[in-house]
Symmetry: C2
Subunit: 429 residues, 2 copies
């Protein structure tokens, strides 16, 4: 662990450029590593995490002490905190990734041409991935391992508050790489808290960063989206909607909305706005809202909702564009399915939006009209998650339309190439 | 056809911004258009091209006259020239696209989860595509139609030399859109030759351009790659290699290299450098090079080649990085397969590279080591083409690793979304 926290400005650029070059070299080697080698590295990383648990916790204690001195918020400190259980969970997370199918070399598609050529579209690594994250030290392990399993080199930049924890975890990851004969530089951690390091990374380190994945709050993601000169896989926010259709099952609507809002309010897949068709609003709204209010959820309704359910607060224009990430829900009555999809097009974030209906045709219409990464029929929006999708683990969720969209798992961290297999074919004039 | 060639600078930005907004609106409508509607539009476009052939040729005559006045090169004038056959070919190209499978709505993958959820990954349009091209007026029809078939709106910017031709063709495309009840603004052509319009487009028109595809020479592509603030699908050059392995069939090597170099020298998939394994160089090089020289190909060889085949010119360092696009080939002797892949990694353009060998293991090794969009075994590199891949038509070839790679056909012009289908599932705590 090189401690160069306070690197001088003139050295920073050299330091970062060198990191980029070393990542590119490591990526070349890693792209040809066998599945067995990568899995060996992951299991060895898990072992090293367990062996070095004491030093990881000690490093974390130093970070927590500094956080206490700075008077950081309790929720922040909770995210920063490691304990034996969380360290063990990290090790198990690495072992879980080792059980994934290796995407590299898998065939996406193969077909034959009339001239006898066989063409295969085969997955290859993307190259070098930059991950910029905030307080959770476990991202160091999760993100590093996931990128590596897809054959990529990764440059990690964690929040300064987790500096010591991240370095202790990173040391264990590198031990795992070395154990499997893979380059140590396949997973690098930026060893300075100088904020300009992020700027350097966003400029792409001379073409040596292929994509950046920001993990954190809206400020971080917004900065990355604005300043990055390389592709970014990200979502700025998850302003998710559920539309209760005129043909919805009432019981289902009550259960799904309660889960979508309150199971966990702080995740990007939690619902923030519910739209209720006017034909059933009188019967459905009270049942849906009572169930939420019982568990302490504040309701902000439009005029129609406030009439039907007077406990609601009057929503303001601001409410329709607010991702609460809290026990608050905005609710309004809409005149039709089209009005619902128009509302989603105007205020949504193209993350996850759903319809509750027993009418298949309406569900189909909703899916055609809503241009979000994930559209849901008769299920909770909280399923917007790589694990729930069966991808095993995700590095984040993307709302862009390029390359990765929705949960970003190992497969989304790959590119592809075409293999053209001939027996001497030449192209006719 | 609005003639606003000499638009004022202060108006240009407004004009371009408005175009972006209109494209976005059209894209929303087009994304929900049925396959039948899009196919009707394409066939109606073909009809309009034929009906308006006289006015298209008249417009082209005006462009050709201006080109003659400017003293433009013969090869340039040839690319700019339309005649009855070329107009008919354009119409047939549109009809061919109408026979393609519509990618929008097709299911890439579907699977069930243990909790009963069904998840489908479904193709959706990308949104708005900007196409910047040079002299060939047929790109107006090809690119416009291909983007539209994939459900995208497109903003076309043709070279100023083809201004009148492009507008005449564009009028026919819009007639086809209107015939099928689709928005005219789904295919827009920038009606000014002001070069700043390109700059505006490269900045993304306030988020209303999702991707840019440049079609043209290295200068154009280089500018787009450098200045674009949105994703770009492109290749800067096609510096393609063929490696003749020690286990190659001599006959096959002779035929494939002749075809890869001389079938057409001006396309990006033509081979520019041949690498020959030292073990067979003495026997193979003369046969391979004689066949090329017979047809007027100039050979620039390294020292070993010049000894084996004294007619060769001595290659300079410049030769290994030159895309000749001409009857010139650089050739060198390499000591191993690894030396060949190292050469390709150092000098190649990650476009198309191939190996000629009867040894399956060596082919596999080559494929693993060469990180190009297309890798070829025992076939001509001139198969690097969407049509030859069976994609029907392509808008270009991409060497980047994000989203599209290799030939860019209708499928590569789409994104996807996830459909999560439930029966009331909620996510457990």
């Amino acid at each position: 662990m090189t401690e160069i926290r306070a690197i001088k400005e003139e050295e920073l650029q050299n330091y970062m450029q060198r990191m980029g070059v070393e990542a590119r070299v490591a990526a070349r080697i890693l792209s040809q590593a066998s599945s067995e080698q990568k899995k060996q590295a992951l299991n060895a990383m898990a072992g090293a995490i367990r062996e070095q648990a004491a030093s990881i916790l000690k490093a974390n204690a130093a970070d927590l002490e500094a956080a206490a001195d700075k008077g950081l918020k309790a929720s922040f400190v909770d995210r920063l905190t490691l304990n034996e259980d969380r360290v063990e969970a990290m090790a198990q997370g690495l072992e879980a990734i080792a059980t994934f199918d290796d995407p590299v070399g898998s065939i996406i598609k193969a077909w034959d041409r009339p001239n006898g050529l066989t063409i295969k579209q085969v997955r290859t690594p993307l190259g070098v991935i930059g991950v910029i994250y905030e307080s959770r030290p476990n991202v160091t392990a999760d993100a590093g391992a996931l990128c590596m399993m897809a054959g990529n080199a990764v440059i990690l930049r964690g929040g300064s508050e987790g500096f010591h924890s991240n370095h202790a975890i990173h040391a264990a990851l590198q031990a795992g790489l070395v154990n499997a004969g893979l380059p140590e530089k396949a997973i690098q951690l930026i060893a300075t808290t100088n904020r300009d390091a992020v700027g350097e990374m966003l400029r792409g380190l001379d073409g040596n960063v292929d994509v950046i994945v920001p993990r954190g709050g809206k400020n971080l993601v917004g900065r990355v989206q604005k300043e990055a000169r390389v592709p970014v896989f990200s979502h700025l926010e998850g302003l998710c909607h559920l539309y209760v259709d005129e043909d919805a099952s009432l019981d289902m609507a009550v259960e799904i909305i309660h889960n979508a809002k309150l199971r966990r309010t702080g995740i990007c897949g939690s619902v923030e706005t519910v739209l209720i068709h006017e034909k059933i609003a009188k019967d459905y709204a009270p049942a849906i809202l009572n169930k939420l209010a019982e568990d302490g959820c504040e309701i902000r309704g439009d005029e129609a909702i406030c009439k039907l359910w007077p406990t609601a607060k009057q929503a303001t224009a601001e409410d329709w564009v607010t991702e609460y990430l809290d026990k608050i829900l905005s609710v309004c009555v809409v005149s039709s399915l089209d009005a619902a999809t128009d509302h989603i097009a105007e205020y949504g974030s193209e993350h996850t939006d759903g319809i509750i209906t027993q009418n298949q045709e309406n569900a189909q219409k909703f899916f055609e009209k809503v241009d979000s990464a994930i559209v849901v029929h008769n299920a909770s929006t909280q399923f917007a998650d790589g694990g729930e999708f069966g991808m095993g683990a995700e590095i984040g969720i993307a709302t862009g339309k390029m390359h990765a969209r929705g949960p970003i798992g190992v497969e989304q961290l790959t590119s592809f190439q075409y293999h053209v297999l001939g027996t001497g074919q030449i192209r006719p004039a």
